[in-house]
Amino acid sequence: MNKTISISRYNPEQDSQPQLQTYQVVSEHSTSVLDALLQVQQQDPSLSLRWSCRMAICGSCGVMINGIPKLGCKTFVRDYPEQLVISPLAHFAVEKDLIVDMSPFLQHLSAVKPYLINAEKSLQPHKQTPAQLAKYQQFANCINCGLCYSACPQFGLNPEFIGPAAITLAQRYNLDSRDQGKAVRMPQLNSKNGVWACTFVGFCSEVCPKKVDPAAAVNQGKVASASDFIISMFTP
């Protein structure tokens, strides 16, 4: 079946702003939006986009589909019988066509020290019970696709907001029984660009392709931040 799709094009050497261009693609039952984009790239090799795994695990194919952030490889063309408009992820600077500059996102991620911090030098493995694993496991499923940042109006309004994925990752390590780094992560979460910049719009959790529920993590972070504050009032 032939299908018309619109793609946002931007060439930094010629254009002052992105413009929609329409293309014809052949869409079958199993054609993903990423497949459609790759078909277009066959017709017009100047189209730039990011992708790698085609199976919703590398997190690189995020785009706006009719204004909603989605993974191109996890979205089917058949679900858009009317119009299908593909544009680059919102709230990020557009480098070219569908490619955005993800560096603000990556900086926020690294700011929360997303790794196990543990002073113990023992060579023994750190044991963890299934119950301890369950505490953070859901938050460990993030694939860093950045869809939640494009869904977040607070990040759009204030790019300094460390955002859903970074706070989720902080929470993921803070809840890990093997980790001792909570004290060094809390200043980031407590800051004005930390958890309190979130107004619980909740759209981040709607668009998350891995059901990580970043909005829950951010609001758990608010509870942690509040108790951190109360404890600090009573300790010299």
Partner: protein
Amino acid sequence: MPDPKSASTAYKPVMSRHWWLQHRYFQLYMLREATVLPLLFFIICLLYGLFSLSQGEVQWQSWLTFMATPWVVLLNLLAFSASLYHAKTFFELFPRVMPLAPAALMIVAQWLATFIVAAGLILLLGGWL
């Protein structure tokens, strides 16, 4: 900070002031935030009532008449439904932030608790008056 190499040529999108009209999810979010407006009206009514009570019978009667005016009743009905809507969004969020029991169970428990407390208060006040 964006990548300095690309900073000069990249297109920086600006967020429209009407971003929240973009789709239903944002509209519902704004609706939730707007529930505060009719609730504010309700609180002012209550404070005005307390003040009237302290001013003696005549003022109290005039407050009662004021509260029975159709537009006041209408606004307060709006405040009531707004608070129910806000409660619904809050009760759905709570089990995600404090996963103490299965979410569905916690939602039902919160509504039950609300109705029991509300019914208790109505009975108590009814008996007192």
